[in-house]
Symmetry: C2
């Protein structure tokens, strides 16, 4: 059955591949899974192309007739995707309705897939790195999965289409569409949280600022409310270096093994399944990439000032190729490592559900999934769950620390970009140039030994064999150089990718903290001007203290895992390099011995 | 006093820089030292330029008036340079006179000096190697020095001129003169030996064939005669692998050290002096490049079927630069090694004179020098000194061995050229690319450590220092790569240069032997046809056997030193490479340790 949608606003196509739609026009969708914020489909005139997912509402067969544009409240499967219709996921009163036209509603960038322009691995790395110079948000938008579209996930499933236009080829139309070869998407931090306009402290006019969207503003203004269960409590304690997350009393880790290809629907759909084994349960569960993707979306929504590690990028094609699977698994292992290392993330319900729910028990999985999607303790309410040290922080000191960290992240970002570029180039040189040079030396020795073999005298046979062996040694050393980057440089690249994700998170986190601090300053001014009573300002102060504690705890955690990770990675790199040069030395010593009896 | 010369033949200039001369025209020479067979001077019209040295005779003040063009006999200082006037150095009757115009008299290639086109070292190597593909004779013509011009040697002396036109700049006229940037000169093997035309076996019509010039033809035809002293006897013995030179019963070696700059004529002339210390005398003597050059000319003249190792190339400028001196010294050491290793060359009088004559005793030196230049046992007469095993060789077997060796030298020449090109390129890559890549990695680590230093927390200081140290380690490793080629690849290049010299000698040596064999075949035919008596043919057979024995002994010697040299050089190369990679490993291990307490 063709999927239909209604245009909420006019959209005029601006680029090849886009199609214009008029308000209230009924559209046909080829998939309800958007591609970086764009739907593909046809308008009522039958013109086919892309239009912004946020400009339309999906009309479901069971809901199309009863759909009420003014409805809000809890998000449900029968309702339009809340992300695009701007319906809050939580149970708040909404002060504006999704169908009211928003002038500054940002249009997503058109999706362009690197796999269709088929760059070589080297070009890919090079361009990717170039891209990162301009914009760091190379990880994809989190998707709000629903049970219904669970199996239609465009990533992680095979390219067998059940809609007009084959899935595998349908984005080819947009090949070469402008210079931006790689997807650049921003990571929204949770849904926009709307709140009552009762406070005297002014509201941020930009409804799309991170401070507002994260729930930071609503919380500071005292508009968040919810029942915090004991199990949800999150403690910030005063440590040696300032506020820090209370350690996880039951630390664990989790392995990710055996990525295997699975099929369902009689082979119509294929996907890769990973075996996850958490140390605290020792029970293996099977998870797909889309499960990670779903979990990631929940975490980003829930934790406004925690840097959720990015999951590896989505990929449209080549998902069953061994190299890609191996690379994705490594990315997931790094991700898992950062998840289990984080005192707050490691313990949160949705992650535990993900790690422990029996893969075979579909009902239990769906229950946990719905529960997580209905979690009220997200965004503004997350801050309610935080308990802080008794003594409030000195805001000036906090501001100075935050500013210092901001400068630090800028420098670290620059240096990791440079290191990443160098490492990629170094790997490329070893795989191509270095290998070639050593093998050319080997070949020249080989040719010399073959010339010498024309002299049939007995006393030269030993030398000829020794030179021939030396030739083979250099041939082998060439191979060693080509193989080495996957052992020592690639892990550095993986580490840097993860940290570039974190570094991309921090501007938003810092923005939330700074927004809270601004509210404190405003409230103090209001109190001085007699526009606000002291108790209300004190409340703002206390809540800002909570946000500051959480932010500093997160920064402290970042530094600790950074030192841990980079130390371990540098050691690993040097160990691999030492082993590499020892291997070369060994090969050369073997060759040298051949001359002893020559 | 201006030096004058008389043109023996017409010469029409064909290239820029050359000047035409007419027969009997009186010319002014700027130096009596020729440059690759060319004199520079002016003709009677005052036109200045180059003309072939072989087309003129020098008019000496004390000899010009009495000079007789028909004179022959012993060559002396008062006579024109016998090489160019084609007057035999030995005491033979000449059957043709030098002033009779010879149509196929080969004109030498114009001299072009690489130092004036100032290629970079890399371009130099590259072009040189390219050049070698076309022609191997990159070593210079041996010069027949005389006592008078001893101090005017253009090489090895300073560029202070005492003639119009400064010496330093006088070849600039020829800069960019056609594509042949590098000197290509052929090495004539001794003087043309003229003999009586009494034999019934036909003479080679080409008076300039190596077979003729070397004296091989004259010897085979029984025209060589001379008194062989016991001390001059050279024995070919039958060894395990065929004929071989009798070993030197008193083997020795000779070191070449302390190249030092010397001046004379109140600083007007500078040259480099080398300290030579032969092991059999332990007396140090001082020698200049021109002494080596003079000795080389004597050896080439004397030994028709011995591959005299080439001395390092002449160089017009930059002779006092440290790199050049070091490189020349290495070349001379290799040369000396091949000289002292050769059973015949090591023992010959002129070499012993060179090695042992007290540098301070100028009179003794000049006596030995004149004696060597008047040596009668050169060329054709050299073969008189050879005694062979009793049993004559089977000529068919000899022919097959010679053909096999010819094919061998071709293959070896090709493979050494390829190896040389590879080694040069590999050195260049290590000095530039490899160094750069490792240092870029170092720099990126340095930048990372500097970014990390912005985090002032105590627990990260150790890591920052360790990364900083790692950065320095990679900086150092880059330097190691750049320094390494001089330790392992350059010696290979030196070895290959020496062997390319030998390989360039062998076509002539083989030509002499083949010429002799042809005479045997001709004589057999003549005997069958009744044109020659059996005794005469038997004489030709016997003399051809002597040439064959000498040639095979020389080939045997070549294989033996080849195996010795290449074995030693490959071992040296591998040992250096092992030490290099161990040094890198050591540096990395040092860096790794810094993380232990980080």
């Amino acid at each position: 059955m063709a999927l239909r949608a209604r245009a909420l606003y006019d959209f005029n196509s601006e680029n090849p591949g886009e199609v214009s739609v008029r308000e209230n026009e009924i559209l046909t969708l080829y998939s309800e899974q958007d591609i970086d914020g764009w739907f593909e489909g046809a308008n009522s005139k039958g013109e086919r192309g892309l239009f912004p997912a946020s400009y339309v509402e999906i009309l479901r067969s069971d809901a199309a007739s009863t759909f009420n544009n003014n409805s809000c409240g809890t998000s449900g499967d029968a309702f339009p995707d809340s992300r695009y219709a701007n319906i809050p996921a939580g149970g708040f009163d909404a002060s504006y309705t999704p169908q009211s036209k928003v002038e500054n509603f940002s249009k997503p960038s058109p999706p362009v897939f690197n796999t269709f322009t088929a760059p070589t691995q080297q070009q890919h790395q090079h361009q990717q790195q170039h891209q990162q110079h301009q914009q760091h948000h190379t990880y994809q938008q989190p998707s709000q999965g629903s049970d219904d579209d669970w199996d239609d996930d465009w990533d992680d499933s095979s390219t067998v289409a059940d809609e007009p236009g084959t899935v595998g080829g349908r984005y080819r139309d947009f090949e070469g569409n402008g210079p931006s070869t790689y997807r650049v998407s921003t990571v929204p931090r949770g849904n926009a949280q709307q709140a009552k306009s009762s406070a005297t402290v002014s509201r941020n006019l930009n409804r799309f600022s991170t401070f507002v969207k994260s729930g930071g503003e609503a919380f500071v203004l005292g508009e968040a409310s919810g029942f915090v269960k004991d199990g949800d409590k999150i403690c910030v304690v005063m440590g040696k270096y300032g506020p820090e997350w209370q350690e996880n009393p039951y630390p664990f880790s989790c392995t990710i093994d055996d990525p295997t290809k699975q099929t369902k629907f009689k082979g119509m759909k294929s996907y890769i399944s990973y075996k996850l084994t958490p140390t605290h349960t020792q029970n293996q569960v099977n998870r797909r990439y889309k499960h990670f993707d779903w979990l990631y979306a929940r975490l980003v929504e829930k934790f406004p000032v925690i840097s959720v590690p990015h999951i590896p990028e989505k990929q449209a094609t080549g998902r069953f190729e061994e190299d890609f699977i191996s690379k994705r698994r490594k990315g997931l292992i790094w991700w898992m490592n950062h998840m289990t290392s984080h005192p707050v993330l490691a313990r949160c319900d949705v992650f535990q559900h993900f790690l422990t729910c029996n893969s075979a028990d579909e009902k239990a999985w769906k229950q946990g999934k719905r529960k997580a999607e209905k979690d009220e303790m997200v965004g503004a309410n997350f801050f309610l769950t935080i308990s802080t040290p008794a003594a409030p922080l000195d805001f000036q000191e906090v501001e100075s620390k935050i500013d210092g960290f901001k400068a630090f992240t800028k420098r670290m970002d620059d240096s990791t970009l440079q290191l990443n570029a160098t490492v990629n180039e170094f790997a490329r040189k070893q795989i191509t140039g270095f290998k070639k040079e050593y093998q050319k030396v080997g070949l020249s020795f080989k040719v010399l030994s073959q010339a010498f073999e024309m002299d049939q005298q007995a006393y030269s046979a030993g030398l000829n064999q020794a030179i021939s062996f030396t030739a083979e040694a250099y041939e082998a050393i060439g191979e060693y150089f080509a193989e080495q980057p996957s052992k020592d440089l690639d892990p550095i690249t993986d580490l840097l990718a993860l940290y570039q994700g974190h570094l991309a998170n921090y501007p938003d986190i810092i923005h939330v903290q700074k927004g809270a601090l601004t509210k404190v300053k405003e409230s103090q001014k209001h109190v001085e001007e007699g526009k606000m009573d002291g108790a209300q300002a004190e409340g703002i102060n206390e809540r800002c203290n909570i946000i500051s504690c959480a932010t500093l705890a997160e920064i402290q955690h970042f530094h600790q895992i950074r030192v841990r990770d980079f130390k371990a990675q540098m050691q690993h790199y040097l160990q691999q390099q030492i082993a590499f040069f020892q291997k070369i030395t060994g090969k050369l010593e073997e060759a040298l011995q051949k001359y002893d009896n020559a």
